[in-house]
C-alpha cells in the first residue's frame, strides 16, 4: 500500500509504540552516554564536564574488572549449558517416554516461579550445615563446603541457579520446533537405516538452527539482565566474587548515588550487548533464511 494517506496512517500506527520506545530506550541510551562525561551532581558541587575521567577511574577500578569478568563467565557458561539442557529436555519430552506430561511440568516449573522467590529456596539449599546440597553430597565425601561464602564456588552456585531457572523456558521453543519436523522425514530416515542419533545430528539439529539462534538471543539477554538472585543470595559478595555489571550499576547508582560512574558502567554493558547483537545478526545472516 502506498500513497501519502497510507503513509500518514502508517506513522500514526507506529507512533505510540515508537514514542514509548524512544522515551525509555533510545533517549536514555543517549543520555547515559552524555552523563558518562560529566561528574555526579552533589549538593555543594553541581555536575561539570570531566571528559574521560570517569572512564579512566573505571578502568582503574578492580571491582569493575571483576564484575566484567564475572558477567562474561556467567554468560559464557550458563548460555550454552541451558541451551543444551533445553534441547535434551525437549528431546526427552518429545520422544514417547512414560510420564511425558509430568516431566514437561517438572522442567518448566522453575520458569514460572519468580527468581526472587526461588533464590530464597536455593539460599536454604546452599546452607553449609544443613542445606540440601550438603546433605546430598555428604555420601560422596564433600562435607561442609561453604558454597555461597567462598570465592571459588559462589559464582558457580549462582550459575547453577540461573541455568535451572532458564532451561525449561527454552525447552518449550525447542519442543514446538521439534514437533514441526515432519514425521515423514523421521520414517524415511528409519527406513534408510539411520539411527536416532544420526537422524538427530544430520537432520533435526540443522533444522533447529533458527530456534537455537532465537533461544540464544534470549539466553544472552537474560544472562546480563537477571540479577535478582544476587540480591538475595550473596549481595555481590564474597568480596565481589558474584558481582556482575548490572548489579554493580545498581550499587553505584542507588547506594552510592554516583550517577556519573553508573552511567559509565552502563555504557560498557550497552557496548557488550551491542557487540553480541551484531555478532548474532551476522551469524543469522550466514546460517539461516528468514522469510
Amino acid at each position: 500500500m502506498t500513497g501519502t494517506r497510507n503513509t500518514v496512517h502508517a506513522w500514526l500506527l507506529v507512533l505510540p509504540a515508537c514514542v514509548l520506545l524512544a522515551a525509555f530506550t533510545h533517549i536514555p541510551i543517549i543520555a547515559t552516554f552524555i552523563h558518562s562525561f560529566y561528574s555526579s551532581p552533589k549538593p555543594r558541587r553541581p555536575s561539570r564536564f570531566v571528559g574521560f575521567d570517569n572512564y579512566e577511574a573505571m578502568l582503574a577500578d578492580p571491582i569493575f574488572w571483576k564484575s566484567l569478568w564475572n558477567n562474561l563467565l556467567y554468560a559464557g557458561v550458563s548460555v550454552p549449558v541451558s541451551i543444551a539442557l533445553a534441547l535434551a529436555m525437549a528431546l526427552f519430552v518429545n520422544g514417547k517416554l512414560r510420564g511425558q506430561g509430568v516431566l514437561r511440568l517438572a522442567y518448566f516449573t522453575p520458569t514460572v516461579l519468580p527468581m526472587i522467590a526461588v533464590a530464597n529456596i536455593w539460599l536454604f539449599f546452599y546452607n553449609p550445615q544443613y542445606g540440601l546440597v550438603d546433605q546430598l553430597l555428604k555420601p560422596f565425601g564433600v562435607i561442609g563446603v561453604n558454597w555461597l561464602g567462598s570465592q571459588g564456588t559462589a559464582l558457580w552456585c549462582l550459575i547453577v541457579v540461573g541455568i535451572w531457572k532458564e532451561a525449561g523456558f527454552f525447552m518449550i521453543f525447542y519442543l514446538a520446533a521439534l514437533q514441526q519436523i515432519s514425521t515423514e522425514l523421521r520414517e524415511c530416515a528409519a527406513i534408510e537405516g539411520a539411527t536416532r542419533w544420526t537422524f538427530f545430528w544430520r537432520v533435526s539439529f540443522p533444522l533447529l538452527m533458527p530456534t537455537t539462534l532465537f533461544v540464544m538471543i534470549n539466553a544472552v539477554i537474560n544472562a546480563f539482565r537477571l540479577v535478582d538472585h544476587i540480591f538475595v543470595m550473596t549481595g555481590g559478595g564474597p568480596d565481589n566474587a558474584t558481582s556482575v555489571l548490572l548489579y554493580q550499576i545498581y550499587v553505584v547508582g542507588f547506594k552510592f548515588f554516583d550517577q556519573a560512574y553508573a552511567a559509565t558502567l552502563t555504557i560498557v554493558l550497552l557496548l557488550i550487548l551491542g557487540v553480541i547483537a551484531i555478532g548474532q545478526f551476522l551469524l543469522a545472516d550466514k546460517r539461516v533464511h528468514y522469510q
Binding site: A17, A23, T25, L105, I116, I121, F124, Y250, Q291
Partner: protein, 275 residues
C-alpha cells in the same frame, strides 16, 4: 532383529531414567520448599516423615506483610501491561508488516534495539525520567518502560506477514477501513501468537523485580516480588519455614495457572510456529 530391538529397548530405558532424574532434580527445590512450609520451624533441618503438618507458617507469613495488597498491585500491573502491549504492539506490527513508507526498515531496526537493551539495563536514566514526570512510586511508573515491546512487535509483525493478502483484500472489498481490517482479519488469525505471547508476558512481569524495586516505595504500589524481598530481609535472622510459605504464596497463582493451562501453553507455542 531381536538384537536391534534389545539395543533400542536398553537405550530407551537409559533415556527414561536420565529424563526422570533430571526431572526430579529440577523439581527438588520446589518440593523442598513445600516440605519446609508445611512443617513447623523445628523440622527445617530434619526429614522426619512423621513430622506434624501445619498451616501456621502460611498464616504467619500472610499476617506479616500485606500480601493481599501486593497481589492486587501485581494483578493490576500485569493486566495493564498486557492490554497496553497488545494494543500498541498490534498497531505498530501492522504498520511494519503491511505498509510501505519511507524509513520503515530503519525504524524497524531501531525498534529491534530494545530486544537487546531491556529497560532494566537503563535503570538510572529511566528512574530520572519517571521522576521528571512526577510518577515515582505509582503503578503506571512500573509499567511505562515496558508498554512498547520490541519482542511483541517483532512476533506480531512476523505473524501478520504470514497471513495471505487475499483475506485482507476480501475484507477491503466489503468496505472495511484499515483499522477494521486489522481488527477483523489479522487479530483473529493471530490468536495463537497472542495467547503464547500473553502467557510469556504475564510470567515475565509477574516475576519482574529490579525495576519495581527502585521505582516503588509504598505498600500501595509494591508488587509481590518486591514485597517478598523486603519481607525476607530480616535483621533478626531468617525463618526458613515462613519464607518458604511466603515464597509459595507469591508463586502459587502462576504455578496453578500453568498447571491448568499447560496444554494450551505448549500448544499455542507450537501453533505460533516460532522459528
Amino acid at each position: 532383529m531381536s538384537m536391534v530391538n534389545n539395543k533400542g529397548m536398553a537405550s530407551k530405558v537409559v533415556e527414561t531414567i536420565a529424563a526422570w532424574m533430571l526431572g526430579l532434580l529440577w523439581m527438588l527445590p520446589l518440593l523442598f520448599a513445600i516440605w519446609t512450609a508445611i512443617h513447623p520451624s523445628a523440622y527445617v533441618a530434619k526429614f522426619d516423615l512423621l513430622a506434624p503438618i501445619t498451616a501456621q507458617n502460611f498464616i504467619t507469613a500472610w499476617e506479616s506483610a500485606p500480601f493481599a495488597r501486593y497481589f492486587l498491585n501485581t494483578m493490576l500491573l500485569v493486566t495493564g501491561i498486557l492490554l497496553a502491549q497488545f494494543v500498541l504492539c498490534t498497531l505498530a506490527a501492522f504498520a511494519f508488516a503491511r505498509f510501505e513508507f519511507k524509513g520503515r526498515d530503519t525504524l524497524f531496526m531501531l525498534v529491534l534495539v530494545q530486544l537487546m537493551v531491556a529497560p532494566d539495563v537503563l535503570l538510572l536514566e529511566n528512574y530520572i525520567t519517571i521522576r521528571r514526570l512526577g510518577l515515582v512510586d505509582t503503578l503506571p511508573a512500573i509499567a511505562l518502560p515496558y508498554l512498547a515491546s520490541a519482542f511483541g512487535i517483532f512476533l506480531l509483525r512476523q505473524t501478520f506477514k504470514a497471513i495471505p493478502k487475499d483475506f485482507e483484500e476480501a475484507a477491503r472489498i466489503e468496505g472495511c477501513s484499515t483499522l477494521g481490517v486489522l481488527w477483523r482479519v489479522y487479530v483473529p488469525l493471530g490468536k495463537p501468537i497472542y495467547l503464547a505471547y500473553g502467557l510469556v508476558l504475564v510470567s515475565f512481569h509477574w516475576n519482574n523485580f529490579l525495576w519495581p524495586l527502585i521505582i516503588t516505595n509504598s505498600v500501595t504500589t509494591r508488587p509481590l516480588t518486591v514485597g517478598l524481598a523486603i519481607f525476607a530481609s530480616v535483621d533478626q535472622g531468617i525463618d526458613w519455614s515462613i519464607i518458604c510459605a511466603a515464597t509459595l504464596m507469591t508463586s502459587g497463582p502462576l504455578l496453578i495457572a500453568f498447571l491448568l493451562f499447560q496444554r494450551q501453553f505448549v500448544q499455542s507455542f507450537m501453533q505460533a510456529g516460532i522459528k
